[in-house]
Symmetry: D2
Subunit: 291 residues, 4 copies
């Protein structure tokens, strides 16, 4: 693995008007900033402009704090209302993974981390079942078992409180629901807005909720899919990040759908997580721009 | 185009038990029948057995009438309740196509017919708008314009009556709704059961009903699809024959989805129609076996 | 079909350096130019920078001639050596299509033109066989039959001379080899560089040359493909524009590969032609940037 | 994981003639055999007939030894020359995996084994580098490091001798070259015929040999692929078992191709291995039938 050049990633969005690109590009050019990657999009429905730019850190005469200061002034000139952020690719990303019993997404993510493909710190894995403790610890990652008793709302609330503490302890850039089979309470969804990624084992909006492969089998679809989306309070209805499908036929049992679907779930979640950590995903309303 | 060998296509279904394959295969072998293609499936949920066999017509010492006689006796021995049919690939298939204004599926089907890829007689094209009359007639196929006045239920019923007559006149093997934008009345659905194929411009069961690309755009999906299904009384809920998808992104407008989707609609409909005319599709409940 | 807003499409390439985007964007912003779409790329191997920008024609205070004048000055400041062009989406594109006997790509393109999806003038279709004359003329497009006698090099050269004249007569933006089964002589390749698009019925670089489906069948591949590429003097070795594949299996005969492959050929060629006519393809060495 | 019903898998091939299916099916029916899955194919080029049948073990009145005895007699009646085998799904499959430094395929396979998806014994992992020892041993699987010194042919031959011993020690049903970067000598290829599966990181027959992603990048293809094939003496030219592709673009560096390609390599190898262990692959000449 070669270490890629350190970069600052600028994300900016505001109501579209003439001259935004010119203003930002000139600001960067005046400072000697070398733009390595740039992408633009305007949403025609809302008239909102989006850009993402990667600048070589070493090409600027100042650091990220000063870049933020100066870019903030530019942003203020461009629009009264704007969304922007600047991140440093040298800052190591922290990820917390939530699991239940199904391990394929966890195995896949840990394999990517171990082989260096996914260059992040997995701060912790939290499971509402203990099944995946051993594989997690074999990767020298802390595993926390937080049981979620069925039935008693108070005990469930306490479990979510514990989950929240364990997650927040590492201030993660991403909270990955890797086939985590508990529905997050509204306040956790709100608190983790834009950071919590779920993998749903269907091609949304088809087959929301429980046992989507059973639903797919009953309907007789000829392709099954998986969807990576940001978690929101409404179940399986958050902004879609990535989807993919695989062909099935009349000879495939539900068990076959489950098995074939896993390969799609794994790659869809891994792609979504990578894009999220590279700050490639801009959420706008209930949709995503993926640069 | 070489003419393929003439074949008899045997479709048979009954409750599964030991010895069905042996009985049918022995019956054919005893007559010298050369099996060119054979497929089997048992649905584990219902315990129903399905088979499709293609036999070289010239390998049998008798014709299709006698084959039906004799096979009927075999079928009666195998099960009290069975579904079966024997068709002759030399019998030319007749197709009626229903259209509205969108022409891409019609152009595609007519091109396949003209180039000999789809070796069928298109008996007629019926449109509730006159837009596609010219292209149809350029292919020397009769075009009938049956206007469907909005609002008046009696006039609409009369129009459907006229449509029915035009369709039935050629006793078609397939009635293809090639982006026909009228909902068939229940009695027509019933009468055309297993013969009427629709192309819906979404990946069903997502986005049933009107303007599915608009729905898909609003939801922000990352793939759009098309579904070929048999028409039933419940809108867009009939047995699915074939589906496919194509990737879209945040930069795609609704017009882009419409354009990209057309290429999927065309091939999905053409594949579904081919399989239907080759007697490859066995409907069982609300699902299909595609051999 | 709604008419899209008239746009000027700016293509620019030069050795990468700091400030190119700023200079171009500022030039456009100063004139009030509204950028509707913008894309950038730098090839790390050659250090060459590419951009494509769509500007609303009505947002500029002057026409395309003056835009070219002024942009030329900007380009001169940015680099000693640069490639650039500015085209007007209101200028109707002219296309000449070359065919032999196989009609599926021609049918497909003519259907797209007739339905308004592909908004171009097909100036002429030229065939070395007469088979596709009728369908062409049914679309009210001139068809020219130019026979290519096997064997005699002089007669062949004369035929290519006639072909060249017929093609050049309409000064086409694109020359589409829609399954044209003659190898263009080197001087025609040179003269039509960057304008002649071929569809090859394999996933290049596999199965160059004659009868690629036969080659694919012999090798036992599990997917077959099609490749749209610019024509160069070396057979099937020009810059690749677009490719796609479809799954095949042991049950598929060569005839099945031919039939399944057609659906891929059609869409791959149609996509490549659309991108070419929208000035989305930038050729660099033997590779393409597709914006 | 539910344990699937124990089955006997019958593979049979011989020159095609009338009555083969009848003979086999009658033989099974007479013994009360319940056929769970059946597939047939005849290769039109060679006139060779293939079938694969899964029979519920419990439905037969005798065991596998007697089934082999009796089926052998049937096979002898059907053809002078035939290939057949009968295997028992209850016999646990043994797999040896060969690796070098790239770990993604190994991680993927071990994850599938650990989660129970791939229900096999990995008897050993042998690496010509020690890099993947730790992950292997974390799964409680023996890892053997066999260094292959560059240059000295005698030392290399000795290393291959050691490799052979380590592999043969467990009499494996499959020898998986999971990105093993040494070319097997001809005699090992011969000895492991039909058991050694390789994953090649290109869409064969494109980009045979070393550094296929570099070759693909240079050629400017728009899709990259992976191929699982049986190992033969000719490099990357053995019978193809499975292939798949993924889309790439001008913005993808070689490192991006390597990363994106991994996801294809993993699933293509896993699918090929599953089919091999389920006795679904019949090799005929240099092609495969995959039932």
């Amino acid at each position: 693995m070669t270490v890629p050049d350190r970069r600052y990633v600028i994300i900016f969005g505001c109501p579209d008007r003439t001259g935004i690109v010119a203003r930002i590009a000139t600001f960067l050019a005046d400072a000697g900033g070398w733009i390595v990657e740039a992408a633009y999009h305007t949403d025609p429905d809302t008239g909102w402009f989006f850009t993402r730019q990667e600048v070589l850190a070493g090409s600027l005469p100042y650091g990220i704090a000063e870049l933020r200061n100066r870019f903030g002034a530019v942003a203020g000139q461009l629009a009264v209302q704007s969304d922007w952020s600047i991140t440093d690719t040298a800052e190591r990303r922290r990820v917390v993974i939530l699991v239940s019993k199904e391990g394929h997404c966890l195995y896949d993510l840990l394999g990517r981390v171990a082989s260096g493909e996914l260059d992040v710190d997995v701060s912790a894995v939290v499971g509402n079942h203990p099944d995946l403790a051993e594989v997690t610890r074999a990767h020298r990652i802390p595993f926390h078992h937080v049981p979620f008793p069925a039935g008693d709302p108070e005990e469930k609330a306490a479990a979510f409180g514990q989950l929240r503490q364990l997650v927040e302890a590492s201030r993660p850039h991403a909270i990955v629901l890797a086939r985590f089979m508990q529905i997050l309470p509204t306040e956790l969804c709100a608190q983790w807005t834009g950071r919590a990624l779920n993998i749903h084992h269907s091609f949304l909006p088809s087959f929301v909720g429980a046992r989507p492969y059973h639903q797919a089998h009953r309907r007789g679809v000829k392709l099954i899919g998986a969807t990576c989306h940001y978690v929101t309070a409404e179940l399986d209805a958050g902004p879609i990040v990535e989807q993919d499908v695989i062909r099935v036929g009349h000879g495939d049992s539900i068990a076959d759908l489950v098995r074939k679907g896993r390969d799609i779930e794994k790659v869809v979640l891994a792609r979504g997580l990578r894009w999220h950590l590279e700050n490639r995903i801009l959420v706008h309303g209930n949709k995503t721009v993926v640069f």
